[in-house]
Every structure is written in structure tokens, then in C-alpha cells.
Amino acid sequence: MSSPQNQRLEIECFLLAGKLLMQSGAETFRVEDTMRRMAISQGYTDAVSYATATGVFFSAGHDTPTRIVHVTSRSFHLDKISRINDISRKLTSHQLTVEEAYEALLRIEASGQAVRPAMQIFFAAMASGSFVLLFQGGLNDIPVAVFAGGFGYIFLLLVQQATKIKFFAEFISSLVIGCTAAAAVHFGLGIETDKIIISAVMPLVPGVAITNALRDLIAGHMVSGVSKGIEAFLTALCIGSGIAVALSFM
């Protein structure tokens, strides 16, 4: 416990950690747990943290105001989760002061992506190509899947940047993938449209998001579980309708 000014910084620090974790796709229990541990290590023994997919709440005790931060976007950023985890561990073992931890968190917030967009496209294309064989497709379909997956991911990034609407970007991206695959098969470059489309769409599919939502639900975080589940379901719907539109052209 310290002066009001320090107290404000401390609460700000815990909230920032929670917000960044939620934005990077951490499990809800990890967000709440990390914030509470950080708070307890600084002497707030009756601190309460409550995290949902769209907002994080923190109350340090009776004498301090309860604060809320709004979480507007969520996407996977495992590197950030790992770095924040590191900071919280150092703070709770008193290797870092609150000021240092807050600075480090601000740096993480300002830092860009661990994997550059060009590399992301490369990796997405590589994964798409690999999925063809995992789904029992033929070797001949790999090049088309690599191309369709990479092309679709480029559109995902471009539309996302231009419109800031994730669902629309996913729709356009899967539409592009569907059309690419259908065109390739039409011109005899690929053989099985289905296999190519499934493989190329895998980097977009919200399989992990759905699994995480279910895990939140099972852990008892009903609010975040439901909202993450709806988000994942909407993504699946956007991808599905993109593909459906593409297939209807055939």
C-alpha cells in the first residue's frame, strides 16, 4: 500500500496487463489470475479481478475506485502472452518494481507483430499446402493449395487493414480462396476442389477460438465463454458464406 499517486499507477499497471492478455487471446482464467497475483504481490490482499472477452474489471479494495478497461479486439498473439507472463512473474517475485513493469507493458503494447506480415503470408501458405496431405489429398493439389492459402491470407490482411472489420475480411478472404480453387480446378491445375478449399481455409478457421471458448465455459467463465463462442461462430459463418458464394459461381 502506498500513496494515492503510486496506487493509481499500480492499478493502471494491473489493468494494462489484463487488457493486453485478453487482446492477445489468453484464457480468461489466466487473465484474472495474472492480475490478482500481481495485485497481491503489491500488498492488495483483497483485490478482485473480473475479466470478460470485451472488458476487464479490477477492484483493489474498499478505499480505491474500481476501474474498467474496454477490450475492443481479440486476435492471437502468443508472443505477447508469453512476455506479459514473464513480467508478471518478475513483478510477483519482486525482481521488478511496478514502474518498471508498467514501462515494460507499455513497450509490449506499442510493439508490433512478432512475425512480419510477409512471413505470416509465407507460413500460412506453407501450412495450407501441408494440410492437403493431412486431409488425404493428392500431391498434385499442393501447389494450388499453397497459392490459394497465401493469396487468401494476403486479402485477409489487406481488407482487415482497410476496413478494420474482421468478419468482412474473413468473408472476402474465403471468397478469394473459393474462387481461386474453383478456377484452378476448372483450368485443370488442381483435381479436388474440396480438398484444396479446406486446406487453404485452415489458417482462417476458428477451430482454436471455439476450443478456447468451450474451455472458458468449462472453467466456469460463462460470460467470456459465450461471447468468445459467438465470435468464433460468426467467423465460421463468414468463412462458410464466402465459400458458399464462391461455390455458387461454379
Partner: protein, 146 residues
């Protein structure tokens, strides 16, 4: 030959998706190996005519156990290793079939696919939960001994 293809492809697919999910660079290769482990468990079981539901359960159980061990080794959160590892057997293909059936006005068929997708997803999650319960129990025994 098929085995080599399966191993290489599951490695590349998982590593690629781990990179798309922005995993820390030094953990990338381990993420890929976790994916190979999970996919091989799943693949071998399905070759033995085991249904996709129990096969996904054991696959995700293997992924989660490996992720717990690696998390301790690297001192990173477990989610870093588990997220990409389950991707190969997430029933994306079946969800796609469900969508295709809807486009073809075959609503009953699509419901069948969708239900099955749901059950497989559930078994993947239960694999995770079981591994977590086990990991917690091991931790408790260890700390009790010390």
C-alpha cells in the same frame, strides 16, 4: 512413404499456424513437434478403425500433456504450445461439409455434419481438461512431497 509425408506435413502445418498466431520465435520448432505428436496419435488411432471422437480426445490429450511439459521447460504459458498443436484434427473439414450441404439445400445432411463437428470439438476440449486435471494433481503431489 506415407508416414514420412504425414510427419513432415503435420510438422510444417503446425509450425506455420504457430507463426500465424505469432508464437515466440524460439518456441516455433517445439510447437511443430507438439503438432506432430498430436497428429500421429490421432492418425494411428484412425488407422486402427478408431472413431474420430475418441481419436481426437487422445490426440488433444497428448498435445496438452506435451504442452504442459514444454511450458515448464521454457517457462512460457502452456497456451503457446497447445494452440497450434490441435489444429490438424480440428474438424474444419466437417464444418465445411456442413456448409456445403446447406448450399446444396440438404439441410438434414448438414445438421448431421454440424452435430458431429460439435461432438468432435467437445472431445478435443475434454482431452485438454483431462490433461489439466492430471497436471494439477501431479503438481499437488509434488508440492506435498516437498
Amino acid at each position: 512413404m506415407d508416414w514420412i509425408y504425414q510427419i513432415i506435413c503435420s510438422f510444417l502445418a503446425t509450425l506455420g499456424l504457430a507463426a500465424v498466431f505469432q508464437a515466440p520465435r524460439k518456441a516455433l520448432v517445439s510447437c511443430g513437434l507438439v503438432g506432430v505428436l498430436g497428429w500421429m496419435v490421432y492418425y494411428i488411432l484412425t488407422l486402427q478403425q478408431v472413431d474420430a471422437v475418441p481419436a481426437s480426445f487422445f490426440g488433444s490429450f497428448a498435445v496438452a500433456i506435451a504442452a504442459h511439459m514444454l511450458a515448464r521447460w521454457y517457462k512460457m504459458p502452456m497456451i503457446v504450445f497447445s494452440v497450434a498443436g490441435i489444429i490438424p484434427f480440428v474438424p474444419g473439414g466437417m464444418a465445411y461439409e456442413a456448409m456445403r450441404a446447406i448450399v446444396g439445400y440438404e439441410y438434414i445432411l448438414s445438421l448431421q455434419y454440424a452435430t458431429r463437428t460439435g461432438i468432435i470439438t467437445g472431445s478435443i476440449v475434454m482431452g485438454f481438461v483431462t490433461a489439466e486435471v492430471l497436471a494439477n494433481a501431479v503438481n499437488r503431489v509434488r508440492s506435498a512431497r516437498i
